[in-house]
Symmetry: D2
Subunit: 256 residues, 4 copies
């Protein structure tokens, strides 16, 4: 465990090229702001990738060298090729960590791993968001108080179309009257998945210290323990079998 964690921040990286409000907040792209929060920590090496690179910057070789993938996407989920989604999914099931951010709730990869709609209620607005820390023992919340606030954010509201999380980490309160399960984890195969709600592109959320701190914690938490390829082996018996099925006597009746 002395090797570094290879974290890769994936971004759609299109809003920043079209919308001056977004590029004003994130002049080098949202991925660079997220990556900045991970840099300068001796145990992590950070790289980035984005939609318009060849293979979306997620070739087999690159994914094989990635320990934890962070995902931000929004308007162009449909442009991510099914082949790359399946490749990422396979890597998560083998052991790679995945941190899904904000509108990534509707990414192909998150939906593929959850199996559900991943739908929610939303409002672009001036809501204040207060994230309550439901799991103060969890590695992802270390250093975070009972709650923290984001001065203005897009609202996401329940019901959120996810399977019951293994661990519920944050619940958000919004000024406008909604609540949301804004931090949650799932084990999927050998990989750990964390969904973290904040991060609308028109707000400076990824510059906020608490948000960056949580993402840093999540990368460390999602570090792989193993990398086990899928298999469905034909397995020889470990104990003697009956000579043939006919020789087996009628079983005990199993009715109460």
């Amino acid at each position: 465990m002395t090797e570094k964690i290879h974290a890769r921040v994936w971004n759609e990286f299109r809003h920043e090229k079209k919308n001056p409000q977004v590029s004003g907040i994130y002049p080098h792209g949202m991925h660079e702001a997220i990556a900045d929060g991970l840099r300068g920590h001796g145990d992590i090496e950070v790289s980035t990738a984005w939609l318009d690179q060849p293979e979306h910057g997620l070739s087999e070789a690159i994914l094989a060298a990635t320990d934890v993938l962070l995902w931000w996407g929004h308007m162009n989920h449909g442009d991510v090729s099914d082949e790359v989604v399946e490749r990422v999914r396979r890597r998560v099931l083998e052991g790679m960590g995945l941190v899904v951010l904000h509108s990534g709730h509707y990414s192909k990869i998150f939906k593929a791993l959850m199996g559900t709609t991943c739908s929610l209620k939303w409002r672009e607005s001036t809501d204040k968001e207060r994230l309550w820390n439901i799991a103060p023992h969890h590695p992802i919340t270390q250093g975070i108080s009972e709650y923290f606030e984001i001065p203005a954010e897009e609202m996401y509201g329940e019901p959120f179309g996810i399977p019951t999380p293994d661990e519920l980490i944050f619940i958000s309160w919004f000024t406008g009257g909604e609540v949301f399960r804004s931090g949650a984890t799932w084990q999927r195969g050998n990989g750990r998945v964390f969904y973290f709600r904040p991060g609308h592109e028109t707000y400076p959320t990824y510059h906020q210290p608490e948000v960056r701190h949580i993402i840093l914690n999540a990368v460390r938490w999602a570090r792989p323990t193993v990398s086990i390829p899928d298999g469905c082996p034909n397995a020889p018996a470990l104990e003697p079998l009956p000579a043939d099925a006919e020789s087996t006597s009628r079983p005990t009746i199993g009715f109460r």
Copy 2:
């Protein structure tokens, strides 16, 4: 709750046409044996469908009229069209029940709802299977004793590549030395999913009274409560919002 449950048994229905051993045991197809176990109960109406029907017998209209779908497939999962799989998945998330049987663990629909590999260890053999009832309180196990046995079955062994079940119902013991989570439930959206392991095509498993009784219980348990179409609504605020984001004061620092 006085209306009948419309159960539909889906079968690949190809083994029976090629393998005399299978057609000897299931002369009308495995779906008919499974359906027989559900007939004669006043609260259930039973239909069937199979792979080689138009739209695999699962048109929009048919699915709309189905409360609980039972699924048996094995060698031809790849021949099920992605469009039909997505249609079934949408119906489960809206509220339809789904009972996945035996080698259906590798069906497209089960894998799509689980998000994982659904892989396992297997052996065609003369193993005896003893299914231990881990959840004697559960509606699916009513009438079943502490355990029941199947005289000869294909072995399925752990690790089984599924998300942690919401409820673990049965664990199997096999003569050859393996164990398996052979009955498990998951809530997916508004629909209930039950996976039940037994049922290799070369054994008369679906004629065994305990197996039929459990499938009957599962159909009743998986009956829909609602049918809610997917949506991702833009929602107006329910409480007054701050006039604008700038006016919001810097939030409390959320670090411990």
Copy 3:
């Protein structure tokens, strides 16, 4: 399933005798208001019990005849005898349903079944509470919309010291800025447990139609399926055992 559900509403029943504000709202006691919401339904028979009765109204015979117990307590949890608590706990583990209301979060019986602190944040105030329906498919929420509001209630806030619920049903939003897991279920042994937050004694919460409807749903949901006494049996082998331990060869080394 044609027999009636025997529901019993247990109340501390002391506030009503001391505090005119409470007796003004609940002239016959809070238990009578809760019981009223269950009466007039042909499938339910309702009784009551309270702290100052012999054995707190929960003798062995009475509990044996109770299918679902509802529990409201607040200031006098300590006056409930450990013997009666253990008796109730044993019945829940055998199969009896339990619906714990509001300040019952700190009752001995709820704490004994959860194993945790069951602590929370609180404020007697003029907060409005909005309960979001997180589980529209669940039997307990049938008939309830996306959310409902209680005009004024005591605030309960996270973190709530409970084990991860099996099912999270409601999350509350409070005017004052807090959130709370206000409806949740746990299977404990063969019995079903539902915690439902609303119901401070100085507000007319148990007269509100939505609250009564949810409690009615919960009673039906918590109905027992079985009644299995505890046991720790010495069990004979079902398969032949090795002649003696020495004869067993050294096992396969289980290291990777």
Copy 4:
């Protein structure tokens, strides 16, 4: 995280004084064999405690200096004072790790944290036990193969009266035909709990390398992240409240 983990192995330590078979296998007591498996690892400091010490060796000061407590008890659970059990429980809920071994399933502390019967089926016999690794990604199974075997052990069989584990780690196969959830975790408050089945006093189980390796992994996994005392604070509002309850308009009707 550079400080050492203070692990304390608690043992009933009475079998060893009465039964020569046990003292032959464990001449210094079972706790010493378990502790030996933890010694020689630079990140762990190991101590022991036993039933017949003052306060069972678990004074407030000793518990305050314990990060992870391991618990082996069998015939004398009833001799552990309720005060010490409550003290241990409080420390687990604050953050201390707890590893419960074998017949510790019936210890007061495990039952108090689970809330259930913790009953099981058992047989002192010559069964071979094969533990299947259901969670190869989990920190507790690192280094362990698909399965490992214990040549001879007491049998424990399902149903096991526990709440659904957060994570199921091992399932055991026994020669005599039973299965058992033999490794499982639960979060309880801020502390992590691991139950691990093997370890009957008349077998040399705690000398077996795989068993020692798993217990070592478990101690590292259960290391505390926080130590948060229980509290139930009266909390001021974070947002403006309505002037009074009467002024709040009738809420939206929450019926579908």
